[in-house]
């Protein structure tokens, strides 16, 4: 069998394999293959017949082929041809059967192999999946277990750390309280000791001063007879400085602008402010929390008040030093950059006394602090400015909340220097005054209605100051209020006991009073030197009835 015939037979039997191929080309191919196979068989048969003398006539195209063929096919016998044909058919059938069997076997084997492979794949896949699931589950369980363990450990660590931190904090707090108490006690003790020492020192110093003055006077008296001329000559040539040249200032109203008002509004946490004008004050700003900020240009007085600030609580009834600590802090915030120009002077306490019931059933409680207020005075050229024209008063209530603020800071213009006495000169002069035989002996205490006499007056200390004085207009200066340099002497005044029946109790303890040098009655007390009593100008009979201006200055007389 040649290749073309085998191919044709394969094509016939392979045709079912092309089931997926479109029918029409398969059939054409198969038909072509059959035609080729027939032709081949016919050619083979013809060849065989030729060699055997038998004429092979193709079944279909024997006649035309015979008619058209120029060379006639060899003739064979019909018996041999039939046998050959039968044998060929038989062989062909056998081959085809064999081929079919083989194909079927191959196909069955392939199918079986495929099924086996598929089953094996499925089995392997299932096993692999199950294994993966088992592994995943195990991993998840392990993760959960690890997570729980980690969280528990973290929690335990956190609790332990918190317990430790709390313990340390408690220890630190206890230590801080102990330290604070110890420090407070130490401060109190040292303050008490310092005060005691200061008092002892001041008394001692005063006594020493008096003794020194006495010795000096005695020595002077003793030496006067012996060397009067020499003494005078020595005194004249002694280089003592009796006076210094000091600036004085004219006081003027200080204008305030919106930015400055806004600054103070911010300091007090004020919002929703308004700015009405009025005849009483020039600026008024209110907020919804109850705070009111005002500025009076005529007095250069900035004021703040908040009546909704609650009163102090019991734990805030503080000692004096802590009052200053509190007001100092408030002041630094309010007078940004200018707080160091002020010196703490004293403090005020507002007290409240509760009463319940009526008549004999009434119950009255002890007075307790409600608000604290600190007063600060201005320091200018290293001199304290006395009076109330330059001052800051700041008060607070519960929790240190600012309840009150009064800030007086008029503008100043330098107005030329003037001579002012020195502290040394004044103290020296007072030392001589104490021992003088010609000094006034009848001195009246000005702060008692029964005109009590002063038994003794001792200078304690002196300091440089400025006092406010009203100066008349001259050719060189306008009439205005001025800050005038002075020396202020703190003296201890002892009032003589009186046998008379008094309208008010008299002071038993020595009283501290301030005297200004040179004497300016409108600015404070004057030293009783024979020309001037220990008071400012005497009270006048006619009082100032006009509201526009203050009257003439006078000494404060008790009512």
């Amino acid at each position: 069998m040649n290749k073309a015939a085998l191919f044709s037979i394969l094509a016939v039997f392979a045709s079912p394999l092309f089931a997926g191929i479109p029918e029409k080309p398969a059939k054409a191919l198969a038909a072509a293959a059959v035609d080729t196979a027939k032709a081949s068989l016919a050619q083979k048969a013809a060849s065989a017949a030729g060699s055997s003398g038998i004429e092979v006539v193709p079944a279909t195209a024997a006649a035309p082929v015979a008619k058209d063929t120029a060379k006639p096919a060899p003739k064979v016998s019909a018996k041999d041809s039939a046998a050959a044909r039968n044998k060929a058919v038989k062989d062909s059938v056998n081959a085809r059967r064999k081929f079919v069997r083989d194909s079927i076997a191959v196909r069955a084997k392939a199918i079986k192999d495929s099924a086996d492979a598929r089953n094996k794949f499925v089995r392997d896949s299932t096993l692999a999946r199950r294994k993966a699931i088992r592994d995943s589950s195990a991993a998840r369980n392990r993760f959960v277990r690890d997570s729980i363990a980690t969280v528990q450990k973290a929690k335990q660590d956190s609790l332990a750390a918190a317990r430790k931190a709390a313990h340390e904090a408690a220890l630190a707090r206890a230590k801080a309280v102990r330290d604070s108490l110890a420090l407070a006690k130490k401060t109190k003790d040292s303050l008490a000791a310092a005060l005691k020492a200061a008092k002892a020192d001041s008394t001692k110093a005063a006594m020493a001063l008096a003794a020194a003055v006495k010795r000096a006077n005695d020595s002077v008296v003793a030496a006067r007879k012996a060397a009067h001329a020499d003494s005078l000559k020595a005194a004249a040539s002694r280089p003592r400085i009796d006076s210094v040249s000091v600036k004085r200032y004219r006081i003027m109203n200080r204008p305030l602008n919106k930015d400055q008002m806004k600054f103070f509004q911010a300091q007090f946490g004020m919002k929703d402010a308004a700015k009405p004008e009025s005849t009483g004050v020039n600026w008024i700003c209110r907020d919804k929390k109850g705070g009111v900020l005002t500025y009076e240009a005529g007095y250069s007085d900035l004021g703040y008040a908040n009546e909704t600030v609650p009163m102090l609580s019991e734990k805030e009834y503080l000692p004096d030093s802590l009052i200053r600590t509190k007001t100092d802090v408030l002041l630094k915030g309010l007078l940004k950059g200018k707080a160091d120009q002020y010196v703490f002077s004293n403090y005020e306490i507002t007290l409240v006394q509760k009463k319940e019931g009526e008549g004999k059933a009434a119950k009255v409680y002890p007075p307790v602090p409600a608000y604290y207020c600190g007063r600060y005075v201005r320091k200018l050229d290293e001199r304290l400015v006395l009076g109330d024209a330059f001052q800051v008063r700041v008060g607070y209530g519960e929790g240190g909340a600012p309840q009150f603020f009064s800030f007086r800071d008029p503008a100043l213009a330098e107005s030329g220097p003037m001579k002012a006495p020195t502290k040394e000169r004044i103290l020296d002069s007072l030392g001589r005054w104490t021992k003088s035989r010609t000094r006034p002996r009848r001195i009246y205490y000005p702060y008692h209605p029964d005109s009590l006499r002063v038994r003794d007056i001792k200078p304690i200390k002196a300091f440089d100051s400025y006092v406010v004085a009203q100066e008349k207009a001259t050719g060189t200066q306008p009439g205005a209020a001025y800050l005038m340099p002075a020396v202020t002497v703190l003296a201890e005044v002892t009032v003589a006991r009186s046998a008379r029946k008094l309208s008010q109790p008299q002071p038993v303890e020595p009283v501290l009073l301030h005297f200004n040098f040179p004497c300016r009655p409108e600015s404070g007390l004057c030293w009783p030197d024979g020309k001037q009593a220990m008071q400012s100008a005497p009270p006048t009979a006619s009082a100032p009835a006009k509201p526009s201006a203050p009257g003439k200055p006078s000494a404060p007389t008790p009512k």
Partner: protein
Amino acid sequence: MMIRNILASLSIAVLAIGNPHAYPISMDIGTFSIDDYSGNGGGIGNLGFMVGAAQNFFWAANAILPGYSLLAAPGTGSASPTFALDARNTQVTMSAITNTSSGYGNREYCDFLFYGGHGLNSSFYLGAGAGYGQVLPANIPLGTGYNRWLLTNSCSMFNGGTPAIVWQPAFKGIKAMLGFKSFAFDNNLSWELFNEFWVNWTYREQSLLNSFFDAQANYGYKHLYPGKGLEPGCLSAEVPPMRIDYCREAFKYVNHDYTAATANTGYYYSKVIGSPQY
């Protein structure tokens, strides 16, 4: 204390919200002032600035109140004060000061009373002459008519006992009394002093007690600084538990009616300024 503070704050808030601009329905001012004690029989030294202080007390109110009432309640003009009583020196007799008639020109006609003269341990001292003398709290029932406030510019009016107990007999409808426990001193700065008092009470919306205390701290203290001092005080009439007392009441929260206060004393407030003398 804390509860009371909270209640007081709440009261302020309630008053501020519910009754923003009440004001007194009128402000008739009456003054008793004595400088010339020798004309009243002597017995004590003369003073120099009490009559002037009384005048300045009224004129400061007259300068402040109309502008304030116009500003805060335009068109009302209700707070213009009148000087309904101006008794001076010899006119300040025992009968004048204890008279309870509420007719014009008498003490009880006035809403705000001012006394300037000597005080002796919780009593008014008018002089040693006949018809003058010492006026004790029991002799001067305040508030039976229209008296609502009293300012005593004199020594020791809250001295000599607990103020709320000592002055209880005088509280017959008056709301609050201002004065001193310490010595007070004749003061030529009464215009500045009382001008500041009225400004504080009105424009600055300070309470009655702080209006008085701060004015004294700034001007009453001027001649005394820094050696001496003052202790001003404010005694309120009794108030219901939820109401703020009269010493802590700013001018604009005062009820707009003539209702008298409870005839009993309540809280007493004081302020220590410098080193007061008693």
